[in-house]
Symmetry: C2
Subunit: 349 residues, 2 copies
């Protein structure tokens, strides 16, 4: 229990133990499987319908597959999981409701737009650290076609997309958290505030989310007494190339140069030149599958020792967009460390 280490008046929690990620899985679609991370994903589904009747069911199928695989890789059985923290982008979380019903677990349904896996890891880690559960699952998904239908235009319409847009990732990332048995620990969290700078362009979500990412990074630095040099990488969710520039500018104006350490899952997952994905990838699935496939292995191998992982979300709906309202952003920070970092530092970190 980290009671005495909670930093009141601030946003962050430093865990005394630090729940470990003991199993993870990434299941993605065809386009993601043609991108730069192709070799790293656990499963590439060639059929956008995943054998189902519609895209929402297909997204649910990705969740089922990722959940089962993460459980298998964790070396536990489903009934050992105590709680599920999960969400998606769709109205009323229908991909999650139908995708997780067969897990038969008490579920906390979460919505944080594309930051959802950050929210799920924060709450999952808090739950395990406090001793409320031996094992929990954190999961988030998105699907290009179900998201386009929900937020934008019918695919048949073939609308042109401005260069500032991102491409919703078809994929699900699933994570089993436990007290021990993993190679990567969640050593702390910085849950994010909603930041609304009044931006209204839903075709430029990177710009809408960058201020929120900056806000959470700065609070993380302040709460933990750290700077960019304390992290091997600072990795946002889906700012894309447009949002990345804004974030680096924001950080610079606050006195921090993070340009050498910043990565963005949305930039990593697609080759924007050959894949026509413009600013980058996005969606709840984007940061979730890049975490499972790319970030965790670097931490497991010790190539990276400590990473600040910041899934970012643009809090809009078609209703609020049509009413001419702004697009607030949010970013949830999760500090990930190689398990041996603690040993190397004598447990003082």
């Amino acid at each position: 229990m980290g009671k005495k280490e909670v930093q009141t008046g601030k946003a962050s929690i430093q865990f005394a133990e630090g729940p470990q990620i003991i199993g993870s899985a990434s299941v993605v679609g065809k386009k993601e499987g043609e991108g730069p991370l192709a070799e790293r994903f656990d499963v590439i589904e060639p059929d956008p319908m995943v054998g189902c009747d519609n895209w929402e069911e297909a997204e649910s199928a990705l969740q089922k597959e990722a959940a089962d695989l993460a459980i298998e890789k964790a070396g536990i059985v489903r009934s050992e999981l105590r709680y599920l923290f999960a969400g998606d982008l769709l109205g009323q979380l229908i991909a999650t409701s139908f995708g997780t019903v067969d897990l038969e677990l008490p579920i906390f349904g979460l919505y944080g737009a594309c930051s959802t896996i950050g929210e799920a890891l924060c709450l999952g880690a808090m739950t395990v650290e406090a001793g409320y559960a031996e094992y929990v699952m954190s999961m988030a998904s998105s699907h290009f076609a179900s998201a386009e239908k929900q937020f934008r235009f019918p695919l048949e319409y073939g609308n042109q997309r401005p260069l500032s847009t991102t491409w919703t990732v078809t994929g699900c990332g699933s994570f089993v958290l436990g007290r021990k048995g993993g190679s990567v620990r969640i050593s702390g969290i910085t849950p994010g505030k909603i930041v609304d700078m009044g931006l209204r362009d839903s075709m430029n979500m990177g710009a809408c989310m960058a201020p929120a990412a900056s806000d959470t990074i700065l609070r993380n630095f302040e709460d933990f007494g750290r700077g960019p040099e304390d992290y091997d990488r600072i990795i946002t969710g889906d700012l894309g190339k447009v949002g990345q520039k804004i974030l680096l500018d924001f950080m610079k104006s606050s006195g921090y140069d993070i340009s050498g350490r910043h990565m963005d899952c949305g930039i990593e997952i697609f080759d924007s030149e050959s894949q026509d994905t413009h600013s980058g990838g996005s969606g709840c699935g984007c940061s979730a599958v890049v975490l499972a496939s790319f970030i965790l292995p670097k931490l497991e191998s010790g190539e990276w020792r400590r990473v600040l992982f910041l899934p970012t979300g643009a809090l809009l709906s078609s209703t609020s967009y049509n009413e001419g309202r702004s697009v607030p952003g949010i970013a949830h920070g999760v500090v990930l460390e190689s398990v041996d970092v603690r040993a190397a530092s004598g447990g003082r970190l």
Copy 2:
């Protein structure tokens, strides 16, 4: 820290301390203010637009008002709150995103349909009990007109509603949780599973949710070794009259007669005869405002000593409905006790 009291392999958590509700507020609309609980609400807003330009903004305005009032009644200032757990019924939680941005708090966005205040109280209580925060806020809202627009027909269409339908409550309930200083304690929780019996009638949500309510009640009885006689009341969220009958039948077939102790917030909030609300009230706001206005005072006065509060949710969207899919249900259980119960029993409860 309740570590040793966590009952693994089951769903429930028994808290060692039990976070207390130290401030609460109910803000409702005109129709709710004409119902049987009129005298008990903190604020009745006569204007369905609450002075705003559209219903979604109006719902956000209810949240702002309820949050401010709950903070005031708790005798704290906003900056003493550490985390916010909140949600609503709308796609992508826009009532909450725009309604809570001014609170400037790290937020966990939640979706559990009309069970959302149960989910918010569970996570809020877990957070306070574990020592992660001194004070947190749990909140949920709904608005008749924003919900009709989201889920059903344009109001101008004037569709007829079957007698099994419920009427979405316009209202927001907000709760400040802390370690001490209240008269009601959250002594334990039973987070719910998604239960899908294959029912497809979105105009009969009571029937869709009753099996989930029954599932959570039975698990609560089992996990805590209790029966109906251990609760002064077992209070569901918005089953309405149709759902209530089904719940009582389900419970009877499992060997429990809860008919003498069961109440439903949806049945209490409207006078179905004079208010034309058919089966009862519903919506995230329904159980939240009935908790704040009606249930908590009965526990504070000692008239009731222990209540099982079970907000219920129907997990559908217009997309899943139009695709002909079922309506899964969920119910999150929260055990509420008069603070003096513990003293009276020598702390053995």
